[in-house]
Symmetry: C2
Amino acid sequence: MMDYPLLLTNFMQHAAKYYPGKEIVSVYATGTFRYTYADWYKRTSQLAGALRAFGLQKGDRVASFSLNNHRHLELYFGVPCMGGVLHTLNIRLSVEHLVYIINHAEDRILFIDEDVYFLIEPFKDQLKTVELYVILSQSGVMPQTTLSPVVLYDDWIKGYPEDYDFPVDRDENDPCLICYTSATTGDPKGVVYSHRGLVLHSFSTGFTMGIQEKDCALHIVPMFHANAWGAPFVCTLCGMKQVLPGRQILDMASLCRIIAEEKVTFSCGVPTIWIMLHNYLEQGGAHDFSCVNNFFSGGSALPRHLIESFEKKYGVILSQGYGATETSPVVTLSIPKSYMQKLGTDEKIDIRTTAGLPVPGLDVKLISLETGKEARMDGKDMGEILVRGPWIAGEYYKNPQQSAVTFKDRWFHTGDIGIMNPEGYLTLVDRTKDLIKSAGEWISSIDLENAIMGFSGVLEAAVISLPDVKWQERPLACVVPRPEAAKTITKEDIQNYLKDKVAKWWIPDEIVFLQELPKTSVGKFDKKKLRATVLPEVLKNRDKA
Amino acid sequence: MMDYPLLLTNFMQHAAKYYPGKEIVSVYATGTFRYTYADWYKRTSQLAGALRAFGLQKGDRVASFSLNNHRHLELYFGVPCMGGVLHTLNIRLSVEHLVYIINHAEDRILFIDEDVYFLIEPFKDQLKTVELYVILSQSGVMPQTTLSPVVLYDDWIKGYPEDYDFPVDRDENDPCLICYTSATTGDPKGVVYSHRGLVLHSFSTGFTMGIQEKDCALHIVPMFHANAWGAPFVCTLCGMKQVLPGRQILDMASLCRIIAEEKVTFSCGVPTIWIMLHNYLEQGGAHDFSCVNNFFSGGSALPRHLIESFEKKYGVILSQGYGATETSPVVTLSIPKSYMQKLGTDEKIDIRTTAGLPVPGLDVKLISLETGKEARMDGKDMGEILVRGPWIAGEYYKNPQQSAVTFKDRWFHTGDIGIMNPEGYLTLVDRTKDLIKSAGEWISSIDLENAIMGFSGVLEAAVISLPDVKWQERPLACVVPRPEAAKTITKEDIQNYLKDKVAKWWIPDEIVFLQELPKTSVGKFDKKKLRATVLPEVLKNRDKA
C-alpha cells in the first residue's frame, strides 16, 4: 500500500470539499454567528498564511486560552495542518500552573478569548517565550490591555490567501496538539498528540458511537480538555453540523434553548454540567430534547440516579465514557450491545452506569493490586487499569522522570482501579491513591460518594481517607446539603439512609457538612485540597473529644 | 503517542474478548453450521499453530481456493495474524492464470474447498512451490483426489492450542493478503494488502456505511474478490453476526431464505447477483426483506431501472460503491447526504445511480483527458479518476513494469473515466479504453449499455467500438434478449426505443443479438473477448454489404 500519512488535513479538506454548505454555529453573548465549512476552510487557510508569515516553524508551539467558539475551531485545524502545534490552555488553571506550562511548552503566540484576556495580564511578564498576543474577538474592538504586542485575530489573518497549500507529504507522527494534565501532585505534565493518534481516535470513537453526518454536535466539554474529547475532529471528519456554545455552557436556560433551536443530537460534557442541567430541569426549566439521541458524560463517574432520572423523567439517554488526557481521551464507552436491547430499562441503565466497553483499536487490561497478575473479567476482581494503543501517550513532554513512572513496559498505567464484568464493561472503583483500606478490606470512595449523593438532601459528597488506629483507615464524608435541607440535615440522617445501601462497615463515622466542595480545573472534586483543609480539622476535633 | 501498530489481530481479539457469544453462520448444501466468535478464535488459533508447525515463515504465502465459508474466515485472520500472507484465488480464473499466479506468488500451501478440488487436479504438476494441499471439508470425508500430499483441514489443525500467542510487536505495513487483478490484458497483477491498509479501510468504510454491531452481514461477494470488499474485517471489528452463504449465492431462493431466517441487514454483491435476484423476484420468488437496511453493489455500474425497481417494488435500498482490487477496494459510496433526505424518491435514486462520494481518508481527483488538468466538479467535465490514500496500492507485486505505468506520481491511475457533480458524487463514464470517440465527441459505452438494458425485451447489453471511416468510431451493441422476446426483437425496436433516451448520434447502427455475453472471472462483460469474436464478424459482413 502507498506510504500515505494519516493527517487531520484530510478531515479538514474532506469536509470543505464534500460538505461545503454544512454549518458551523458559534454562540456569543452578543448573538449567534453562523458560517459554512467552505468559509471556515477559507479562514483556516488565512490563519495558516498568517502563521507562516509570522515565521512559525514546523513543530513550534502556539497556545489558545479560550472557550469554545469558531475561531478556536480554526486554530484546532489551522495550526496543526500548517505544521505547528496548538497548546490548549485550561482557563481555570492557577496562575502558577499557567506560567509553568506556557514556559515549559515554549509557546510563541497566545491566542486569547476577548472574554478572558484580563486573566493573562497579571503574569504576562513571567512568560518567557511569548512573542505575540492575538485576541479572538467577536466584537471587533481591541480591548484596553497591557498585553503587547497585541493584534485582533480577524485583522491579523485577513489579506492572506483563502486556499493554503497545506503539506500532505509529512510524517503522521508529527505533533499537532499539546495538553497538560491538571496536576493533583507536582507540576502539570504535557501530553503531545499526533496527527496519527487523533485520526485513529476519531475513526474508532465515531464508529463506536454511531454518529454520522446527519447528527448535530453541541461541544459542551471545553476545547482545552483533552481535545474536547476529540469531538471536533470526528464531526469535521463526517461533515457534521457543529455548535460551539462559548460562555453559554454554564447557563442552563441558554444551553436548552441552543439544543432545541439548533436541533442538537448529541453532546459531551462532564458530570458537573449534567448535574447542573438536572437541577435546572427539576426546577421546571424550559427544554425540548426531542432532537437529542444521546448525551455523553466523562471525567468522573455519574451517579446512577442521575442517569435514571434523565432517562425516565426527561427521555434522554446519558452514556458514559472513560479516559484521560493521556488517552486522547476515549478508552471506553457505555453503549449496550445489541442483544442487551431486550433488557428492561433498569438493566440498561445498569450498563450505562458502568464506564463502558473498550473501543476497538486499544488493548485494555486490569492488573490486580493483590497478585500483580491480570484480573479476571468476573465483575469482582479489582485491578489497576492499563491501556495501550495508537492514541495512547507513550511519554510526557520533556519529563523523563514522570514518564518512567507512568509508562512502564509500554503500557499507560492509569492510576485508576477498575473491575470488568464478563461482558467487558469496566466499572471504576477508585483512584489508586483514593481507595480506602479499612481492616484489610477495600472501600471505594467513589461508590460511597454516589451512595451518599443518592440521598435526597445531598447535593454533592466527596469521601477521603481518615487515619484510624484500630481500622488503619476509615472513610470521611464531606457533604454539601441541598439548600432546602441545609438547616435540617444531620449526620444520622445520612448514616440511616446508607444502612441498606452499602456494607455496614462502609458507613462513615465522620461526616462533615460544607457549603461547597473544592474542585479541580477540570471540575473534579479536589481531594488533595480536602485532605489539606478538612482533614486536619477533623483530626483536631477527634483528638479533643 | 505510543508506537503501536495497526493489526487485524486487534480486530480478531476484540471480537473474541468482547463479543464471544455472537454468531458466525456458514451455510452448506448439507445444512447450516453455526458457531461463536469464541469458538472461531479457538480454531483460528489452532490454524495458526498448524501453520507454525508446518514451518510457515513471516511473509510466506499460502493460497485459498474457496467459496465463502467459516474455514475461509479462519484463514482470513489466522494466516495474516500469525505472520503469513493469504493469497485468495479466484475459482473462476482460467487454468493459465491460476498456474501463473500460484507460481508467481510462490504459494506454499493450497487450502481448497471440497466442492472445487477437482478444478486443481488437472494442472497440479505445473505448480512449482506448493508443498501441501489442505481440503476445507464440511463432510469430513477425504475426497478421492490425485492431489498430494493432502490433508483435511480439521484434522490438520486439531491438537494445536486454542490460544495462540499472536505477535503484536510487528510492523503494521507487513503484508497480510494478496489478490491478483483479473487481467484483461497481459498477465494478472498482484496487489499486496497490509494490516495497516485493511484496518484503516475497515474504520473508514464501516463508519461511512453506518454499520454497527447490531447489524447482520451476508457475504455474497466472494472472499476471493478484493477481500470480499473488506466486509469480513469490518464485521469482525464490531463483533457483528456474519453469514457465509457458500454455494448458495447462485440460488436466489436459498439466498432469500437465508436473508429472512438469519435476519440479514446488509449485503454486498456484484450487479450480476442483483440482476439475478431481481429476475427471481419478478417471477414471483418468495422473499421477506423486512430485516434488510441496505444492499450494496459494486464492480460495475447498476442500471437505474434496477435500483428503482428494488426500491419501489421490493422496498430495498440498493447503494453502490466504486473501487478496484488496487483500492482494498472501497473508494466511493453512493449514500445520500442528510440534507438530501428531503428529496423525492426519484431524486434519491438519482444519487444512488452514481458511484458515490469518496469515503474519508482518501484523496480523489479527476484529470481531464483533453487538458491534462484537474477536472471541474460540475457534473460535466470528464477525467480519468486518480486515487491516493493509506489503503491504495503503491505498486504491483514483483512487477515494476506495470507498476510504473499505473502508479505514476504516487497516485493510482484507475483507467476509469468519471465525472463529479458539485456535491462530490462520482459517475463512471467508461474505461479509458472502452470510451468511443465518434466525430470528435465521446460516447460512454456504459451509459449506452444501461440505456439499452432499460428496454423491456433486453436482458444484457455490451457496447464496443466499431472502426468507421467517416466517424472514426461508431458504437456496436451486443445484445442478449430476454427469453420471451428472443424470437421477436429487432434492431429497429431498440433503435426506436433509444430515440428519446440518448443523443441521436449515440444510437448504434449495428446491433448484434447473442445468446449470452462473455464475462470475466469477476462477472464483468468481457469486451476483450467481444472484440476478438463479434467484431471481426461484423466487419466481414459490412465489407460484404
